[in-house]
């Protein structure tokens, strides 16, 4: 019978908290960039200018057809060298966090753009006609009328995607980055208490994600009681 020993957890908390900060940092960056870039991609996809819509379709299909871990590895291998050259940094600078953030942001943009595209399409066509009839340009109509309504409809989906993204940040272990999961693994490995640490980490992920999704559910009920 395996004897559980939780005694190494309290001492590891500061280190785990550092890891959690990295997880949250990656999540936040990816959500913000993902929504901004995803919105642009969605607008390109819906554009009547073919090259733009082809580019966006290609981008989305590419990123949705490859595993996230692989994308992260690519970025882990390629981006640091690229950034070193671009900014003239000394070779071997630690750019793991930056490349993880870029990788996540570009990958998640593909998913966000699909959510946002559906959101834009959920706004009745007559709204755009009304904007045009009032003399608004396409840009004004999007910014003032279509996107605000689209985002209002999409908030629950965007938040749900953010929760999934937060869980996925654990995949940065492939670049040996100490995010929350990576930190827990390292501590567990060091103290020979891997099982306890991973159970603990799982519990933390569960509490955070479950709570967040309950909040999303509440929001959804409040704003879309249907």
């Amino acid at each position: 019978m395996y004897e559980f020993d939780w005694s190494s957890i309290p001492g590891a908390l500061p280190f785990l908290w550092e890891g959690m900060k990295i997880s949250l940092e990656i999540t936040l960056t990816a959500v913000v960039i993902g929504i901004v870039w995803g919105t642009l991609l969605a607008m390109m996809r819906l554009s009547s200018f073919r090259p733009l819509s082809w580019f966006a379709a290609g981008y989305v299909n590419l990123f949705r057809a490859v595993p996230l871990v692989m994308v992260l590895l690519w970025f882990f291998l390629i981006v640091p060298k690229f950034i070193e050259q671009l900014f003239g940094l000394p070779p071997g600078s630690d750019l793991r966090l930056t490349s993880a953030m870029i990788g996540f942001a570009l990958f998640e943009s593909a998913y966000y753009s699909e959510i946002i595209r559906a959101g834009i399409q959920s706004v009745p066509k007559g709204q755009m006609a009304a904007c045009s009839a009032l003399g608004m340009t396409y840009g004004q109509a999007m910014r003032l009328v279509i996107l605000p309504q689209a985002f209002r409809n999409m908030v629950p989906l965007l938040l749900t995607q953010a929760i999934i993204l937060f869980q996925d940040t654990s995949l940065v272990y492939v670049s040996a980055l100490a995010d929350f999961f990576g930190a827990a693994y390292k501590v567990g490995d060091r103290d020979g208490r891997l099982v306890e640490m991973l159970l603990f980490a799982g519990a933390v992920y569960f509490v955070i994600c479950y709570t967040a999704s309950q909040i999303v559910k509440r929001l959804q009920k409040k704003y879309h009681p249907a």
Binding site: G126, Q127, S132, A133, G135, M136, L144
Partner: protein
């Protein structure tokens, strides 16, 4: 004011408008009627370029609508349009609905836009509702706000695309009253509508369309007393018996 010459439009092989020619002079009120699918909504949407057309020409106040060089946004800012489904902006209050295009398109100051908006809201009898949202108003009230929103742009003419078709019967008149008043004040109006009572009261001319063609274009007296085409006779017989 509006000159429509030989306008044709097709979606692929389907011909929606065939060789439509008519005109609306300043201060005139024209009612466009006809069975559904006859192209009347499409025609009126061509006037402000919401629908493109392949051949012919439409001149609004000296500007060619179909010309690729025309700045359509600029033209549309002064051509008011009212839609079947109101199309108020649901995420904005009534006052925001009334002021947004004034400030963003015409570049008016906030106060000036607000003054103008509230004055027009009062005119359509809804001043008390200024701070509500569109979803809190009835259909008739929303359509009156939509008319006020279009009027706030100081339009040179107004296009109405079946403004009462989506309304409950008891709300039709409140909208028609506003339109009648507008017509009496000399607004140039082109109205797609089935409301023949409204046509009889205020129209100068009636255009009857069928299968994408303008079949009749006559003074209202001539149209109602003695429609020339068989199709228009049938249409009137059906519509007036109700």
């Amino acid at each position: 004011m509006i000159q429509i010459s030989n306008v044709s439009k097709h979606y692929g092989a389907f011909q929606v408008l065939t060789d439509c020619t008519t005109s609306v002079s300043k201060g005139e009120v024209i009612v466009v009627c006809g069975p559904s699918g006859s192209g009347k909504s499409t025609l009126i949407k061509c006037v402000n370029g919401l629908e493109p057309f392949q051949s012919g020409e439409i001149i609004v106040n000296g500007t060619s609508v179909g010309d690729p060089k025309t700045n359509l946004s600029k033209l549309r800012a002064h051509v008011g349009m009212v839609f079947q489904n109101f199309e108020l902006f649901p995420h904005m209050s009534i006052t925001e609905n009334l002021t947004i295009a004034q400030t963003k398109v015409l570049g008016r100051g906030k106060e000036e836009a607000m003054d103008k908006g509230l004055k027009l809201l009062d005119r359509v009898g809804l001043k008390a509702h200024a701070h509500k949202f569109p979803g809190q108003l009835s259909g008739g009230q929303q359509q009156r706000v939509a008319i006020a929103r279009a009027l706030a742009m100081d339009p040179i003419c107004m296009l109405f695309d079946e403004p009462t078709s989506a309304l409950d019967p008891e709300m039709v008149n409140e909208v028609l009253d506003v339109m009648t008043e507008l017509a009496r004040e000399g607004m140039t109006m082109m109205c797609v509508t089935h409301e023949m009572g409204f046509a009889k009261r205020v129209a100068n001319r009636v255009i009857f369309m069928d299968q994408g063609r303008i079949v009749e274009d006559d003074s209202k007296e001539a149209f109602f007393a003695n429609p020339r085409s068989e199709r228009a006779q049938q249409f009137l017989a059906k519509i007036l018996h109700h």
